[in-house]
Symmetry: C2
Subunit: 621 residues, 2 copies
């Protein structure tokens, strides 16, 4: 029938549209999350001439993550809370075609762990069931579908429970449109939120399926016999058995990162976040399925395979970073359709994405020290598990003990900032953190909607380094760094590889930079504010452009974004989070505020201030 | 002695520094307020190649007026409330050398009539008495002198009384350093503030002199015998006699505009604002010396001459716009050192600045209709006075009567946006408004610190026009428009003329534009937000640059800046201002909010959103 055909179109159209390099129809560029553009007008020879073409202030300050979408002549730009969405006219230097300004309860601001960020809107092409849609995952967990042409609301649904008797759930993840559904994640593992991924029907916003990260098999949408980890069925009650009592109910594993999709396998890929609390002593067991890569059927949500990277996390190494899908990669002499994932825990994983077979797991920053390696021996008892250095086990060292010198810091060797893959070079270009930490877990009690953190953290550059970041090239078949370009601060923006042999990324100081395939810097331009957004390429009237949002913030920039460099505000932050724990000197109070990022990134205030601006770059006419 | 020599240096150094086109040492560029730069690398031939070189977000939204100062390698940038000041390193793409963040009572925000603007900081060179200073006139009327090298406070003084038992006084005007003093204005005529100009000693911030705009001769620093208007002594009690009872005490005449200085005559020039209230029926008389150009001795504050442009104002035509000083201008066959002033009331005045002789008074927008002309007959009883068209007399038409079709609107043919003068062409380039209004005065009562407005205003483009602004060239000797370039909205930014035969200005949509001496548009670039700031030229490492602040707001942009396009907020605005008056339909409530600017400029929301960004432009390397 027409209805069914229409529904099918949504998916096919979007996949097809994502092959047109003139547009940028989803945050990741394509379902494979490669963030690669085949546009090649901007080359390594002429990129030095790049110039700002037009700019647009979003009217909102704090951390601007994600990036604009491009559909024909229209650019869709979103902001952090209050999550304003603009449709801008590309033909007219960004004249505002429509603006959507949700009214949200500002009480959501303090329950967002890592700034009031939003990783962008999704686009769904018109079908018989609905007009073309722009879908927004609001901070307050309302999901809104807007008519892409008019900005008028088509439907609205509530994905989580925010404040006021809620559970401290919030929304930051970019939605992903797959077929006739849209996938929506949830945030709040610092509030003991029980993570899930939900799929809503594009037609009317009704729930299609919901897969929890922890809990009973039925609620997790796992089949004890058919869902596998490393080739073996996970068995019954795999999650609940890995927690004490009912801790899985407040066990975290939120889904605030990026989602990928393989249309042929019809599988959706994503990772789950940290187990709650940050105090590992309080939650014995593997805490399944936090810190896990999940492969699920897009239609039903049923899990095909899972892989827990960091069982029983003791460092807050959320597993939510993007999964980049590459076909036909030769690993150890055999070709695989792989999934490559740069985890917070400092290991880069290459897996066969059809089976979940572990092919490569290697450190992508030599500073990583919490585990010596991932056990790659299929016959070992600890196959696939990281071999933890007891010196850096915050669980072993125990509550109220400060474990010093752990690398990476809680924000990982990479956090939300997505990497890019160039099929031309076969390499991944990865924005990374080069930061270590002290971590002191302490006992906390759970109250719904209240912080449930349980660790004091301080952060600093990796020993012997002055740089807090590197931009690296990675060979995912070999598990090797090809080159590494130091950056003063963590590179908190996404990267973009292009067929012009130029790779783009942004820095926390606010520079947009272009490098060649060897990491040589070819161009830089200081945008108004620190860049934690991602880079959108597009073509218009026969010319190639790139667009990027500036606006310092995110976890790394929370000192600036949340005003936590002020001792008063830092003390108030501790008052809200620490459940009465003594906090030491003023320096310590500031240093450990914002879950440790305030002290670590304090020097950022010498380079940039809050902002919220779009800059569109192109070559001279 | 060394001390005296040092004090003298402050003035001489600053005057000398202002002749160095590489720097920009005061908001107006020079004491004469010409805003002319002798830099000529950027020419009418190459300006089309101009490009953004680096940018900086100020971390503050709302209206950004004024512009950066340049002293050597350092750029000083200020913001609207909370009036953050940054010292930026020009050698390093604007790295932050220091940042000053005053803590101000946010209750000052609602007592600022026309957005939380600030027109910029002043610089005072080092003397034996003090280090080099950056002087800030805060919204809350605190005046702060900062060490230009470190940002540390050297002294602080309170210029007015803000809220909490105060009088609703606020600060927006740029200070002007003259010799060993700094001139500071006051805002608040919409709150019945009695205007004054104060001079503080640079050494320690102590008061040197204070000259009220209204009141007893002594407090006004006028000499009944020696202070003249149009060549005649003003006589005793000239102000108090021109008001009923003690109305002069709440009579307005604030000093929130620009100040000029003639070092040879040692005279300071500035204009006074509207009489309070906006309801003329309530305040019979000429309401002296509101709406007046003042020429005062820089050392003592004593007035040499005065000229009231709009006696008994009935339209809110504040007389505060800048006085541009030009030497040796030939008017009617005779050379004069003149002062040229584009008044809100739609007349451009050319006066002999030594004597106050009125040489030219002519409409600089043909739409002006409230007066037929200014009486230029020295023998006439009404010499120097505008001849009011009774049709547009809101006083005659009376309280609670809507007088329609008055041109210009209350915000005048020009408001705070400063014009520029090119000695190369002998012409003035003037950003103007092309807006008319309906004005309905009504009775109000005075309460200290509360709005004291008394008129409902709505604004719209001049009849027969779609453009709400023009950028014009003006011959001040002849009193003639040379050319006029229409702009969609009022041009609310300052203009800059350069020796490269290029004139720059910004638009409310956010474009920076360059035109040639004939008004042909040579270049435009869409900056992040609407431009109401002024243009700063400078040279660095042998290259010419221009810098400008974006950030829509000011009175024209108050709908966006104050959120008054929302019916709820507009109603709340009326609730605070209208003393209980009935406001009509929702459209009317929004339309007449913000003293009439919200409705008039509503379409601005289709072009730009709030911001606060610096953009530095230069030619390609
Ligand atoms: O556990 C969670 O639910 C959760 C949510 C978020 C988020 O939604 O932004 C972050 C994190 N955790 C987190 O661990 C983290 O490092 C982080 C960084 C950022 C960011 O935007 O910079 N968000 C988050
Ligand atoms: O009467 C006053 O004290 C006063 C103050 C100000 C100000 O300080 O900004 C403005 C005005 N009046 C005013 O009439 C006016 O048109 C105006 C425009 C602006 C602006 O910045 O856009 N300020 C002011």
């Amino acid at each position: 029938s027409i209805g069914i055909a229409g529904a099918a179109f949504a998916n096919e159209d979007l996949a097809k549209m994502s092959e047109n390099p003139k547009d940028w129809v989803m945050q990741s560029g394509d379902y494979a999350n490669t963030r690669y553009s085949t546009l090649d007008q901007i080359t390594k020879d002429n990129v030095k001439n790049l110039q700002a073409k037009w700019t647009f202030s979003t009217g909102v300050l704090r951390g601007h993550e994600g990036g604009p979408l491009i559909i024909g002549d229209t650019m869709y730009v979103h902001t952090p809370f209050p999550n304003t969405v603009y449709a801008l006219d590309i033909n007219n230097d960004g004249k505002i075609l429509w603006k959507y300004e949700p009214k949200q309860d500002p009480n959501v601001i303090p329950i967002m762990c890592c700034d009031t960020v939003n990783r962008g809107v999704a686009y769904a092409p018109k079908t018989d069931d609905h007009p073309a849609l722009i879908i927004l995952n609001q901070a307050d967990t309302n999901v809104v579908a807007l008519d892409a042409e008019t900005g008028k609301q088509v439907w609205k649904t509530q994905n989580g429970e925010m404040t006021d008797g809620g559970k401290g759930e919030s929304g930051t993840a970019a939605p992903l449109v797959v077929k006739d559904k849209v996938l929506i994640g949830i945030s709040g593992a610092e509030f003991g939120v029980r993570g899930f991924l939900a799929a809503y029907n594009l037609k009317d916003g009704s729930l299609a399926w919901k897969a929890y990260s922890t809990g009973p098999d039925k609620e997790m949408l796992v089949d004890p016999e058919k869902t596998t980890q490393l080739g073996k069925p996970i068995g019954a009650d795999s999650s609940t058995k890995s927690w004490e009592g009912e801790q899985w109910k407040t066990g975290g594993g939120t889904t605030w990162g990026w989602f990928s999709y393989d249309p042929e396998l019809n599988l959706v890929y994503y990772g789950t976040g940290n187990p709650s609390t940050w105090n590992p002593v309080q939650r014995p067991g593997d805490n399944k399925w936090s810190m896990t890569i999940m492969a699920r059927d897009a239609d039903t949500g049923m899990a095909k395979w899972l892989y827990q990277m960091t069982p029983h996390d003791e460092w807050d190494y959320d597993g939510v970073n993007e999964m980049i899908l590459v076909d036909d990669m030769e690993v150890n002499g055999k070709k695989h359709d792989v999934l490559v994932h740069f985890d917070r825990n400092g290991f880069a994983y290459t897996l066969d994405r059809a089976t979940g077979e572990l092919l490569v797991a290697a450190k992508y920053d030599p500073a990583v020290n919490w585990a010596t390696k991932v056990d790659m021996d299929p016959n070992s008892e600890t196959y696939g598990r990281p071999l933890v250095d007891p010196k850096y086990s915050t669980d072993k060292n125990g509550e109220d003990t400060n474990t010093a010198g752990i690398c990476p810091a809680a924000l990982g060797t990479k956090d939300q900032q997505p990497a890019t893959y160039s099929p031309k070079t076969g390499l991944f270009y990865v924005p990374t953190n080069h930061v270590c930490m002290d971590y002191e877990p302490y006992k906390v009690s759970y109250t719904a909607g209240q912080p449930y953190v349980g660790a004091t953290v301080s952060m600093y550059p990796a020993p012997g380094s002055e740089n807090m970041g590197n931009f690296i090239a990675w060979d995912a078949a070999k598990g090797e760094i090809v080159w590494s370009k130091p950056e003063l601060f963590s590179v908190w923006s996404g990267a973009l590889a292009t067929a012009g042999d130029v790779v783009f990324y942004g820095t926390l100081e606010g520079y947009i930079k272009a490098v060649d395939e060897k990491g040589n810097e070819l161009y830089k331009f200081k945008t108004p504010s620190g860049i934690i957004g991602n880079i959108t390429p597009f073509e218009h009237d026969g010319k190639q452009y790139i667009a990027v949002l500036s606006g310092v913030g995110g976890w790394a920039g929370i000192g600036l974004a949340g005003g936590l460099l002020s001792p008063d505000n830092a003390a108030a932050w501790h008052g809200a989070v620490d459940q009465g724990r003594e906090q030491g000197t003023e320096d310590q109070v500031v240093g450990t505020a914002g879950l440790g990022a305030v002290g670590g990134y304090a020097a950022l205030a010498d380079y940039t201030a809050l902002g919220g601006q779009l800059t569109v770059f192109g070559l001279p006419d």
